[in-house]
Assembly symmetry: C2
Homo-oligomer: 339 residues x 2
DNA sequence: TTGAGTCGATTCAACGTTGTAAAGTAGGCG
DNA sequence: CGCCTACTTTACAACGTTGAATCGACTCAA
């Protein structure tokens, strides 16, 4: 089968430890010896057994990324960013899908498989404040995403409230007066829906506009179909509005679709803004205004924090980082003749 | 640190091998002993060290999935399907992004990291027929996707030619006479672009319609923007056509967008069909007709074949499986009042 | 010339697990 | 009562690697 240090040593005529020293660039190896060993390595096509190395060294060179589902575009783009950020540090990424199911989210942290990696980047959806004490595992954890936990883990979060406020203000700045919301979660306070709704309300308050829950449509999931259904709902109710804040891009896309079917022009009759800056928002008709929550920065920060904690598991206090966001105006709010 | 077999053994007052026997459901363990051991396991929160188990057993319980990029929706949905299929067999998935770069695709197979998994599900884009001999690694490989290799690996491919032919025939059946193609690759024969174009030509031949390369637009990449640019190109050339076959869904979406901007009604003026059955094609305006290439079946077949080959690396001849496809008519070809 | 110090290579143990083989403990039967 | 068998537990070695300690040879300064 595959060659081992011992095989190489036999061919090179040295001890297997000398081969190990060559591979690990140990300083005290004679050049002639090194050459002999390298020749033998090439000859046998030797590759180090990373499993054995992991057992000996205690770390694997892999991290786990746990997220709801890759077929949700936001998480696919997040995973892309995390994999690239990890690759820069020589880490490989193992992906676990939780389906936003609370039981599976807890299982991820409890599974012995987690120890096949050195740390966990975790984007939970179903876990809430009440689960704070359950957020722990045999490896360091960095929590991503929108929720706030009382846990002792590191967090990388987007600025949901402030960013949502900025998105709303963008609509207000365009002279919109009645801004509908698509995608609220009934009664939620600390989830991303709740936080973004809070930002929306703050923006209204800032301009002295009363909050009207008659133009706030609730949904269960954040899929395109839910956005479409919510917009149908608003239209059926006869709600009047001149702008829509979709709490994420897919919801906004669903809403745009229904508005267009119903004969409304976007943005002239109704301006629409989303949230997430998915790649595809650049290519819809009209292109979708949105908020870039700093996905690349989230990924890179998460990896950096995780590596710091892997290196020093207990020396650091729990940290919370909020990434920079940016409102991205596109055709769905400012029309086709933008800069 | 984490408890080991020895720690559990000490607490339970047995040898560490007995603990191992309990964990592995060894038949001859006295009930009272088992109970003692299980109590100690619970007490210490013992979890087996999978790295050590891997070293000893020679397999890891993980597989590698190598693909171009997760932010491309097709591959995100493929990854989702592969992860779910793997999970059914108790396997976890490690993802490598190649960026469709030939060098990185070769590196994936050569990297010692690959041995941290038991097998490779590989969806190459840059490797071609001439690289057939380079398709090999220290672990079994199942190749996915559109290319054909002379390699000795297992393949799971979609029926590109037949499915593209069916897509084209769907347009012909609607009475369309001049079907433009968006997304061809200049001179390509055996890639997915080449194969799908062949299916298109076969369909035309079958109806005695001459092939006109004046309505076949070539692109470099298969992104939405390329589809848009290609459609711009066709319109600028003054090409006349009453239908468009986008060689994948994102290309088709880009094309639809440009058509709509240019004032064409889809499907009344121009019918459009894509390829891949991305989730989002259900929510565009109009919803996009497409071809479901059997993604779930691809994933499940690939995992099944990979497991068979892991179990018996040399006993099986190279196999090639083609999955079933299905034309999915939606609004972009048959209009809004469909069944 | 000798002792200290460096270089180069080796030996040994350990990481935590499982397979093999052997050892110990009953129970059953002649 | 002793022996054979089946059951239960244990001891030991291995998986392939790296770190610690060791050892010989050589260099240099005293």
């Amino acid at each position: 089968m595959a060659a081992t240090l011992h095989d190489v040593a036999r061919v090179a005529g040295v001890s297997f430890k000398t081969v190990s020293n060559v591979i690990n660039n140990h300083p005290h190896v004679r050049d002639t010896t090194r050459a002999k060993v390298e020749k033998a390595i090439a000859e046998l096509g030797y590759r180090p057994n990373l499993t054995a190395r992991s057992l000996r060294s205690g770390h694997t060179g892999a991290i786990t990324l746990a997220l709801p589902q890759l077929s949700l575009p936001y998480f696919a783009e997040l995973a892309d960013a995390v994999i690239e950020a990890a690759a820069k540090h020589g880490l490989v990424v193992l992906i676990e899908q939780t389906g936003a199911d609370r039981k599976r989210e807890l299982e991820v942290m409890a599974s012995p498989r987690l120890k096949m990696s050195d740390g966990l980047v975790f984007s939970p959806l179903a876990l809430g404040q009440e689960d704070a004490d359950l957020i722990k595992a045999d490896v360091p954890i960095v929590l991503l995403g929108e929720r706030i936990f009382g846990s002792s883990s590191d967090h990388v979060t987007m600025q949901n409230v402030t960013a949502a406020r900025a998105a709303t203000e963008h609509l207000l700045d365009l002279g919109k007066k009645r801004i509908a919301v698509v995608g609220a979660h009934e009664g939620e306070v600390i989830g991303s829906a709740g936080l973004r709704l809070r930002g929306y309300r703050e923006a209204l308050e800032g301009r002295g506009i009363p909050y009207d829950d008659g133009i706030v449509a609730c949904v269960v999931d954040w899929h395109r179909s839910n956005g479409a259904a919510a917009m149908h709902d608003l239209l059926d109710r006869g709600a009047s509005f001149d702008a829509v804040f979709g709490l994420n891009d897919t919801l906004a896309q669903g809403a745009v679709r229904v508005l267009q079917e119903a004969g409304y022009r976007v943005p002239d009759d109704v301006a629409v803004i989303g949230f997430d800056d998915l790649d595809e928002t650049r290519y819809t008709l009209p292109t979708l205004s949105t908020v870039d929550p700093g996905r690349t920065e989230i990924a890179e920060t998460a990896i950096r924090m995780l590596m710091e904690r892997i290196k020093d598991p207990d020396g650091l206090p729990p940290r919370e980082v909020e990434t920079a966001f940016r409102v991205v105006p596109r055709e769905s709010t400012v029309g086709a003749n933008r800069g």
